[in-house]
Symmetry: C2
Subunit: 463 residues, 2 copies
């Protein structure tokens, strides 16, 4: 059984924020500003999710979000605010319904289509369930056990503070549909890649290899997957020459709308040294359509932008800070790739991203040149008062700065607590009420402390 | 902000169960049996929710549940297992969708129709929101402020261990639609009568007075209500001569199917004294259609039936125990009323009901004749080892035994912890994974201890 988990205790964080705040100075630092007065991260998160809501890549909602973002970033006093458009293939959700149709009384399931799912057509399809306990079990299965059936992958994701299970369990979503299609399945339904137990399925993108014809692909909520499994056990044959027969009806009618416009929104805090390479900080502006994209990733945009705002207020930095609110991350990182195509040749001092919710930063990881060892030590000391510890593994960056990092740009991870992130990730429940303002503000304080140091780093430390 | 609450700590209960269990006796009591081996409450709850699922009153699903119940009660060895049919008006859900359509970017809301809601027609309706912070505010408003609009009631229910807020906050659902219709509203949407913060709206019945034409009536989830309120604030006019204008589109297409058959399922443990009046214990077999009716009220049927089973196993009681799995409770207590019409003239010793989830019993309340004072003391002592304390208010009974209690039948409440009950009540989230087997078993132990004493009480103590 899965119960709601205990909210993270915040008394310690609050105490830290208050104790730091009382050390008044004539000119407050960016980190001090982050702990007082204005809370632009909360304001951005609240207003973007309220006034725009879901921001599906390539849709009019995402375009409205770009216009909103441009106005907001200009109003905050950033320079060079602009949209940079790019083209992308657009997929949108249609009807989505599913039922367990036999051998027991028909029961409706809470289902959602995965991004790039094919359509069942309006009348839907019905078929036998082919059960697999994991992606590995499906990958190892002979095609004959799958052909003509609806594949079900049962693997139950477990929560972890660093989110490390996403890659392992997520294969059922990332690759399961492609493998099922290759083996001749008529559709695939997976247990949601999520750690909650609510009737809210987790969507997310899947991809089919070139030459593989997409099949309908959906995710059911954890309670629905539990129900399917209990019915599956009851459907097992008594005699070995009888077939198990649990049947499902599926209606998923998403559509591919072809190539449409999306775009990145960029803003800057101009540095005093025009020859210095910029620090780039990223989030993504688009979101899945089921919720309002509060933790994924309005909060990330709020955090990085608030930090840049506090650094700007504390005094002009040496390096330019470039803020990237990337478009179309969820369905294939189109915004991050477009940024790299356009700006990848430029030198970047360091790249950071916030795209893992709004819970507190608990660890800092580095991937820096050897010249930056003293810089890493200074950063470690600067974030320690906020309860952040140094990790032992290299930083990995984030999706939207992935191309930059792959090309060698240094990166730092301000790793957020992901213990409850996959309770909400890509569900209808990704809404503003899930954001804890105290933890959100801790993020901004840690980012402000980090960004102030990075934006004033020397050319000897960073490229 | 509302966060998921901490699960109730169970270590104490587990310790109690174990410490009682080690007091071995040659013939175990019903309460001892409840703490060992078989767990029929869990088995009933699991199997009914898995094999039948939602059990909407008057539908084929509820009829399937009666057939299932009859088979199960017979298999458990109860006597006189039978269905007692009755007629009732049947209402079923249709399409349900809603959007905030202006002045901001249109956003979809998670909505569900209330039982007895009228239909908007397939094309839906669109109108201005008339905002009210509570039912009382709506009741006090002039009709002119409501006429032609879609009423919204914002009152946010707060959790309480004894569930005492349901009556107060629930008026928005019970009576809000009737009042809105009387004042000329075209529809009403309420903030769910619920204490969670998930995108799962809470359904439940509403009633229109004779002569009042029903209007479409729905509930939106708490996060959706939060969003509506934030948009409402942004839609306030700058000048006093301008109207606030937040608009909503609503599609609700429920149907009244007319009079259909429902029924109660009854089973008995025959008493040794055929002249003694029976003890009646009740739950309800029907459920709302959004979830599988695990906490409401498969668990209640599991608890009372397990207790009767343990009393039967421990040795034949003096009084007959009559088990009532009532039909059609959710939409108007049709089963309880039908039982009373058929059996209300018979003498009943005492009536008890379990219909408040599956969390632990924490309090015992009495409404007994003066002759039963020593009996109440014995019962208080018998349940104390399970962490149950005596309350200071009279017992109220339960919906399905309400007519009996109103007619003077004594009653006892084994009050369950309702702190998280209204997180789940009448939502898609009322599913088996929400049942805590340890707390469920504590219920059965408390019920077994209570029922053993009641079923062996003397005629001098109870009528």
């Amino acid at each position: 059984m899965r119960n709601p988990r205990t909210p993270i205790r915040l008394a310690g964080i609050t105490a830290l924020l208050l104790s730091s705040a009382v050390t008044a100075q004539p000119v407050p630092s960016a980190a001090e500003l982050a702990q007082q007065g204005n809370d632009p991260a909360w304001a951005i998160t609240r207003d973007l999710t309220t006034e725009i809501g879901p921001r599906m890549p390539g849709t009019e909602s995402e375009a409205a979000a770009r216009r909103w973002a441009t106005r907001r970033l200009q109003a905050m006093g950033f320079a060079n605010v602009r949209e940079e458009a790019f083209d992308m293939p657009v997929w949108v959700r249609g009807a989505e319904e599913a039922w367990l149709t036999g051998p027991l009384v028909p029961q409706k399931l809470a289902i959602t289509a995965l991004g790039n799912s094919a359509s069942t057509g309006a009348k839907g399809i019905e078929g036998e369930i082919a059960y697999f306990e994991s992606f590995d079990a499906l990958a190892a299965a002979p095609a004959a056990s799958v052909k003509g059936k609806i594949v079900f992958i049962d693997h139950q994701m477990k929560p972890a503070q660093d989110g490390s299970g996403y890659g392992y369990y997520g294969r059922g979503r990332f690759s399961g549909p492609n493998v099922a299609a290759q083996k001749g399945a008529i559709a695939i339904v997976i247990r949601s890649i999520g750690t909650d137990s609510h009737r809210n399925p987790h969507t997310g993108v899947t991809n089919f290899d070139a030459g593989v014809k997409p099949i309908p692909a959906g995710a059911i909520s954890n309670p629905d997957a539990d129900q399917l499994v209990r019915q599956w056990r009851r459907a097992q044959p008594v005699r070995s020459d009888e077939a198990a027969l649990l049947t499902m009806k599926l209606i998923l009618t998403p559509q591919n709308l072809g190539i449409r416009k999306s775009g990145n929104v960029i803003a800057e805090v101009p540095g005093s040294d025009r020859g210095a390479s910029p620090v780039i900080i990223a989030c993504h502006l688009d979101s899945w359509d089921l919720g309002t994209g509060a933790i994924d990733d309005a909060a990330g945009c709020g955090i990085i932008t608030a930090a840049a705002n506090h650094v700007m207020t504390a005094g002009q930095p040496r390096r330019t800070i470039r803020i990237l609110w990337a478009g179309a991350e969820e369905v294939g990182v189109f915004g991050g790739k477009a940024y790299f195509e356009r700006h990848g040749e430029q030198k970047h001092a360091v790249a950071l991203e916030s795209d893992f919710g709004a819970d507190r930063v608990w660890r800092i990881d580095f991937k820096l040149p050897d010249s930056a060892k003293p810089l890493a030590d200074r950063l470690t000391a600067a974030v320690a008062p906020f309860g952040v510890v140094r990790g032992r593994q290299p930083a990995s960056g984030g999706a939207d700065i992935g191309a930059l990092v792959a090309a060698g740009v240094p990166t730092i991870d301000l790793a957020q607590d992901g213990t409850r992130y996959f309770d909400l990730h890509h569900t209808p429940d990704d809404t503003l009420d899930k954001i804890d303002p105290v933890q959100l503000r801790q993020n901004v304080a840690v980012w402000s402390a980090t960004l102030a140091i990075l934006a004033n780093s020397s050319d000897a430390e960073l490229p």
